[in-house]
Amino acid sequence: MRLEFRMSVSAHPGEVEKVNVVFARFAETYALPDGVRRSVNVALDELLANELQHGLAGRDDSSVTVEVALDDERVLVTIPDDGPPFDPFGFAAPDTTLSVEDRPIGGLGIHLVRELMDEVSYEHRDGQNVVVLVKYLVAG
């Protein structure tokens, strides 16, 4: 597994776009399958937007780091942050069977990450939250 890029963005909602640009270049360089690229794009958007809007809100000095690694079989995304301990996967899945009228707006993001990725994990180590996502290049 080879680290392809590591970047940090500051804690402002508009910063997610910078990660999207670098990830798009990475995906193009290695000709990632569209389905894999799009799933990782969605997962990054969910986790980073969540992080920048809530986890690190009001902390101007904070930043979020994204590391992307690749081997023949999978893409591995690691997102460490130094905010308060927070497990994004520590919530029950939302009820996705409700009607338009009854459906609350929001709450779906982490559910999408869980379903679109092949593996997700969270741990708190050395004072950091560390989220790891794995997506296999070939579905199976």
């Binding site: 958007d45 996705t96 993001g109």
Partner: protein, 109 residues
């Protein structure tokens, strides 16, 4: 993201190209709000939409709720495999009217 709107008879067709995510959803929200202010028959053209995240789903759900309340109609066509997968995981394919093609979306509206 690129967004364009056109009107065919009294049906407003909004084409969203690129990504509908936390970065682009505020702009998409504005464009859809503008359409909702003047029309009750709305068709979303997703044939050039690359991917959608929950921020984009939020915009769609808001529009669907508004149109449902005002007796309007919302239809969507042109989903790629990834957008379709997100619709299925989120349950949106069961609550929004999704059509395979523009002709079918515009039919009997």
């Amino acid at each position: 993201m690129e967004i364009s709107t056109r009107t065919s008879n009294d049906i407003h067709i909004v084409a969203i190209a690129g990504s509908l995510d936390s970065t682009t959803s505020p702009e998409a929200q504005k464009a859809i709000d503008a359409v909702l202010a003047g029309g009750r028959k709305v068709v979303l053209d997703f044939s050039a939409l690359d991917y959608i995240s929950s921020a984009g789903l939020r915009v769609l759900l808001g529009a669907a709720k508004q149109l449902r309340a005002s007796g309007g109609t919302l239809r969507i066509f042109g989903l790629n495999q990834s957008v379709r997968e997100v619709f299925e995981i989120s349950g949106f394919s069961a609550i929004l009217a999704v059509y395979p093609s523009e002709a079918e979306a515009l039919g009997a509206m």
